[in-house]
């Protein structure tokens, strides 16, 4: 074990940058799982699929990956709207969410993974941006630009999302549908319509996260598997559906994971997600900041 302070400070810094990205990737899941109670385990797979599309779009052109993800996000959102309608029609309407609804999203995750494998093969995909190399150094602490730029975009996305949920009518209706569907109906708002919009938003966020992902690291068809544990751990740590909670949990998670990789070894970092997930479920299922059940 290497306890050099410079090394540890650097690990914390890159952990914070990584954590901002994790928080953005988990934000969509915080909406679908936390607010809408739709356990979309295909969320990480949708993110990886978006990363593949971004890599394909930017491969031949000089298009920026983050800009490309902004361009494809509406298409993913549209797909998300259709997906929710399908889910609602076959499962939610019948009150059959628990086994078959879960199996539906698992099947979707599996199909996305296999389709990526069939279309692109087993090779890793990557995207080049102006900031792919280059480092911003503050004293002895290094901030690689390929981490810093996605992290800043993640913070901007988070701020926009929080403002949308707090300030607009639809945003407040989304928070309301999590609390009381019937009251929403009594106020003349169709809960299914609001949930469609919210789910579309969450899948659109997965596409944005995909753009950030491909800047940070190359992906392959099985990359989604490791993100499942990470993103659910963050959403649960953040207290299910609280955006500030998700942000703090994401940052904390990134730091813990980077410290583990630096101090114990990078091959152990997947165990962090699982350990935190199980630990929180066993000891504090309401998360860091969640209200008592």
């Amino acid at each position: 074990m290497n306890l050099d302070p410079v090394l540890i400070v650097n690990a914390c810094a890159s952990g914070l940058l990584l954590g901002a990205f994790y928080a953005m990737a988990a934000a969509g899941l915080a909406i679908s799982f936390g607010l809408l109670d739709i356990v979309n385990i295909a969320h990480p797979a949708l993110m990886v699929a978006a990363a593949f599309v971004v890599a394909a779009l930017t491969g031949g052109t000089a298009l920026d990956p983050l800009l490309a993800s902004l361009l494809i996000a509406p298409l993913f959102a549209l797909f998300g709207a259709g997906l929710y309608r399908l889910y609602h029609f076959f499962f939610e309407r019948r009150g059959d969410e628990s086994i078959r609804g879960l199996a539906f999203f698992f099947g979707l995750m599996f199909l996305i993974e296999v389709s990526l494998l069939l279309l692109w093969g087993v090779d890793q995909q990557y995207a080049n941006a102006l900031y792919s190399s280059g480092v911003l150094s503050v004293g002895k602490v290094d901030f690689p630009l390929r981490m810093l730029v996605p992290a800043l975009c993640a913070l901007a996305t988070f701020a926009t999302l929080s403002a949308f949920l707090k300030l607009t009518f639809v945003g407040r209706a989304i928070s309301a549908v999590a609390q009381d569907r019937e009251a929403l109906r009594l106020m003349g708002i169709d809960p299914v319509r609001i949930k469609t919009i919210a789910f579309a938003l969450s899948v659109g966020l997965a596409a944005l996260a995909g753009g950030a992902l491909i800047v940070i690291q190359p992906v392959d068809s099985s990359s989604a598997q490791i993100f499942v544990g990470r993103l659910f751990a963050i959403v649960i740590m953040g207290g299910l559906g609280s955006l500030p909670g998700t942000m703090i949990a994401g940052l904390l998670f990134g730091v813990i994971e980077d410290l583990t990789a630096t101090l114990i070894g990078p091959s152990w970092s997947p165990a962090v997600a699982f350990g935190l997930l199980l630990g929180f479920l066993a000891l504090r299922p309401r998360g860091l900041f969640g209200a008592p059940p």
């Binding site: 199996a103 499942v228 544990g229 751990a233 165990a271 997600a273 699982f274």
Partner: protein, 319 residues
């Protein structure tokens, strides 16, 4: 309730099937038949095991592959440490799976079912990390197992493996059928339908859920234990292959989850579709096909094949 007659009839049926299969496979006398039989029985055992927790109690396990791999790696470790014979390794694999089920269950089964599902989903990633970092069982480069020569009454070792896997699958079916007919099965069904009501009526819900998770994990571990001998080589990628997880879930959901017969039907249907697709198209195309059939059944036939049969019979009776 189950009594002496159930066990007598069940064991007799299993024995008759064993003899028929042994004679039929010996008559074909082709190692490919043994390989094929092994795969079908292995998936049958996995599917029946998944259904004990997933179908009877309604708790989805996304980590069947991890339980399966735990059994396989128990064999590798024991074979390297003590050179134990395979039947003992199968029991050890069962213990590994049972322990895993008990730990996962006791940490998450107090909460809503989705939390158990989410934790099992990331179980295989972390277990694979552990195995990759564990150099004793070969780490990421894998471990070789020396396959013994044929044992006395069998013409080849593959024949022995195939029949051993049938015995595991038949044991799984007997256990599942016994659970269905006992108070355990009724308790699990009550939990599936309304857990709060079941608890209020005095069903020991947590204990039953843990029992189901442990039993299901034990059978999955047993089904994985012979894998290193079957392949005579085991690495993390082959032990944690995603096909085991998707098949363990898809087979019961396609066949029907209410009875042990459902997973068996599902294993026969999906198992043969896959073998054909692998033979004539490609293995990733066969996985895509399984995914599509699985989602189609989940959305359109919630009761599976058994439900479709029952529907037809009810329509016939109504006329």
């Amino acid at each position: 309730m189950i009594g002496f007659a159930f066990w007598r009839n069940g064991l007799a049926l299993a024995l008759v099937c064993l003899i028929i299969i042994a004679v039929a496979l010996r008559a074909v006398h082709n190692d490919y038949a043994f390989f094929l039989g092994y795969i079908v029985f292995q998936y049958g055992a996995l599917a029946i095991a998944w259904n004990i927790l997933g179908g009877y109690a309604g708790f989805v396990n996304f980590g069947a592959g991890a339980f399966f791999a735990a059994g396989a790696y128990a064999t590798v470790a024991l074979n390297k440490a003590l050179a134990l014979p395979l039947p003992i390794c199968v029991l050890a694999g069962g213990c590994a799976g049972a322990g895993l089920g008990l730990i996962m269950g006791s940490l998450t089964l107090r909460l809503r079912g989705v939390y158990f599902a989410i934790s099992t989903l990331s179980l295989s990633v972390v277990l694979q990390t552990l195995i990759v970092n564990w150099s004793y069982v070969g780490g990421s480069s894998g471990a070789y197992i020396v396959r013994p020569k044929a044992i006395a009454p069998f013409t080849s070792y593959t024949e022995f493996l195939c029949l051993l896997m049938f015995v595991i699958a038949a044991t799984a079916a007997l256990i599942a059928a016994a659970i269905e007919r006992s108070s355990i099965g009724f308790g699990l069904a009550a939990i599936r339908d309304d857990e709060a009501a079941a608890a209020a009526l005095g069903v020991p819900t947590l204990r039953l859920k843990l029992l189901a998770a442990t039993t299901s994990g034990a059978i999955m571990g047993m089904a994985g234990a012979p894998l290193p001998f079957y392949n005579s080589y085991l690495n993390p990628d082959s032990a944690f292959a995603v096909g085991y997880t998707i098949n363990a879930m898809a087979m019961p959901l396609v066949g029907g989850t209410q009875s042990w017969l459902g997973p068996v039907l599902g294993a026969l249907l999906l198992g043969s579709i896959q073998q054909l697709a692998v033979a004539f198209v490609s293995s990733s195309a066969s996985l895509a096909l399984i995914g599509l059939v699985f989602m189609g059944f989940v959305a359109l036939a919630p009761q599976g094949l058994l439900g479709l049969f029952r529907l037809r019979r009810a329509e016939g009776a109504g006329r």
